[in-house]
Amino acid sequence: MTVTHQLVIDTAMTEHDGSHPSESRTPDKESPVSLDPSIDVGKAGDEVTVLESGTELERTIDLRGGLAIGVGTMVGAGIFVFPGIAAGNAGPAAAVSFAIGAVVALLVALPTSELATAMPKSGGAYYFVSRGMGAPFGAVVGIGLWLGLVFASAFYLVGFAQYAVAVLEEIGASALVVETVPFLTVLGVGFGVLLTVLSTFGTENTTKLQNGIVSLLLGILLIFLVYGSLDTLGLFGRETVPEQFAPYGTFSILTTAALVFTSYLGFAQVATVAGEITKPGRNLPLAMIGSVAIVGTLYVVTILVSTGTFGSGRLATFGETAIVEVARSYLGLSGAIAILLAGLLATVSSANASILSSSRALYALSRDALVPPQFGRINLRYGTPHIALMLVGGPTVVLVVVGRTEVLAEVASFLHLVSYGLMCVALVVLRRSDPEWYQPSFRVPGYPLVPILGAIASFGLLAFMQPLSQAVGVVVSVAALVWYLIYARGVELKGVQADA
């Protein structure tokens, strides 16, 4: 018995030495901040990261929590906002669009997993790309992620407002909804402000809530989809609305895939909490790939069921809350109410998760002095990064006011896809330069094919977006680069192999 305990102590002690091989790399004294991953990655254990100073960072998010972050961030969009819009654009073949999105997401999730296990740090994509390819690319990705998540949060909030309005209509309070458009905006903005304030001052642990919400959502969806699938297959004698599978042609499938890719923006959020996940070597890849697989399956089935119920033309007329009508047609009023509630929960949890991830991206940038260090400050009283949260919440509510659902979604996807593509490239760069500190515990299968395909697919999808979204996306990326050149040109990241 004592022997067992002694062994535990011994491992703990070795962790304390910090004597991992990479320590021998000497830090560059001239750089303003100590950024060499080999120095500050620390020793990542299963439950704790032990830093050189002996200080420990506890890992508290298990696999279930990781999956909840991934699924919780993603599921809001694909099921509760997009089915009507997507079916209007591509017909029943929108299911293929979602499947394409899932494949692209998986092609990126695999390389992301490898990078995250090698660098289990906050900041996710920004950290990987800046360490793999240098500060300019890092700036594009970091700023792109910050604003990409701002666009995504605004998109989720608009979706949330639509559900809130639908709920009001359902309970007969539609008299309140006289002028629908400003009312939507007020709801979206109000909740955007509320979420930001809650994130800033709330010290409650939200993980358990998030886990609960995701479980509840999956439960509701499962009942609905299983029933719907059986019915669509004709088991209960219902006639499927007969229709051509791809009435708007192949090109529309691809443009729809680009549009709905916003539904897959959550898996990389798992990487932004890579420093807090237990057993990162195992749980990070499982959480990322698992959450993409779960939501991808749900999306495809949802589209098939929805289009089978109404036909894509009619489905499109229901707009963002189309899925409620589908549920109503199967399970009556109770089904509609259940899905409405699920929609509220899902969109709000997606918005919340995105706001939090976005503030992490800002923190990672500020740590490297690519943005003013104040952005990463946290207040002692609440322990939250209040400035970063304001810098996320503020622009988000502005976008809720001015944005259109589809453009918000596409710009969010655009900025993420740029980051995803660059992550895949960063993986190839890191594998080729093979720095001493790069020791991922998960290695991407099918290297180099998977990351190369991931990069091509990510950049490829950009071509199928609306011109307006592409223009906004390009402007943001270029602006990020200009910001870097003006503000942070002198910043030198340590451990970046391009400089070595």
Binding site: M1, T2, T4, V8, G383
Partner: protein, 249 residues
């Protein structure tokens, strides 16, 4: 190998939150091996490394002050500093890693003269005795062994139980004039314990359940810590991977 009579005590401190370890408690622990755990709990919105960057220096300074306080009483201290979202998980992990016999749930303690050791059942008695003896041996403190029976018929069982612990303590070097035994009959044993504890300065109590992640300490010790004014030393149950169920240890 470590000294088998030496007691290792984990002292968790919510560093940066102004939590103090009472001076008298530090004195009481001066003959034990203390593992001082400074932890800073941060909400999930914040990355632990983010908090670490900003607060590490301050936390280390506070920890150093505490170490000084322990050393001024002649104690030996090793320190850990952890930034975490979940302090229970952290305390549990460090207690296991550092092989601690007991965990201190700190409350103010103006003076420490009387220690109460509630014994509920024949579980973990050896460790409880070891910890009680370890912290008391070098000090002039009274130890009250306490058992609350739910009905009159069980009083004699309780007396036998306390007798065993008393013998064990004597073997471990506690003078019999330091020891007293109390068995009460009470509908609500927890309430009876809280009342008895109010005339004592420190509670030494066994952990209820074998520790499972997330269920730290078990209900009784936490509630005792909440309801009594003094510090509570929770004696951990040895986690025996092999024969826990058969021998009942």
């Amino acid at each position: 190998m470590r000294n088998t009579t030496e007691v290792r005590v984990l002292v968790p401190v919510a560093i940066l939150k102004g939590q103090v370890i009472p001076d008298q408690m530090i004195r009481l622990l001066s003959h034990s091996a203390v593992v001082l755990l400074g932890y800073h709990e941060i909400p999930e919105q914040t990355a632990p490394e983010q908090a670490r960057e900003q607060f590490e220096g301050k936390a280390q300074a506070e920890l150093a002050d505490l170490v000084e306080a322990f050393e001024s009483w002649g104690g030996t201290v090793e320190t850990r500093l952890v930034f975490t979202h979940d302090s229970d998980q952290t305390i549990e992990r460090i207690a296991t890693e550092a092989d601690c016999d007991a965990v201190l749930l700190s409350n103010p303690a103006p003076s420490i003269d009387r220690i109460i050791v509630p014994i509920k059942e024949r579980i973990n008695l050896e460790s409880i005795a070891k910890v009680a003896a370890g912290v008391s041996r070098q000090h002039d403190v009274e130890i009250t062994l306490f058992h609350a029976a739910t009905e009159e018929a069980n009083v004699s069982d309780g007396e036998v139980l306390l007798g065993e612990v008393s013998d064990e303590l004597t073997t471990l070097g506690i003078r019999s004039d330091q020891l007293s035994r109390v068995v009460v009959v009470a509908q609500n044993p927890l309430q009876a314990l809280v009342e008895a504890a109010s005339t004592h300065d420190v509670v030494v109590i066994g952990e209820e359940e074998p520790t499972i992640r997330g269920r730290l300490f078990g209900e009784t010790s936490e509630r005792v810590a909440e309801q009594t004014v003094g510090p509570v030393l929770v004696v951990r149950r040895p986690i025996d991977p092999v024969d826990d169920d058969e021998t009942g240890l």
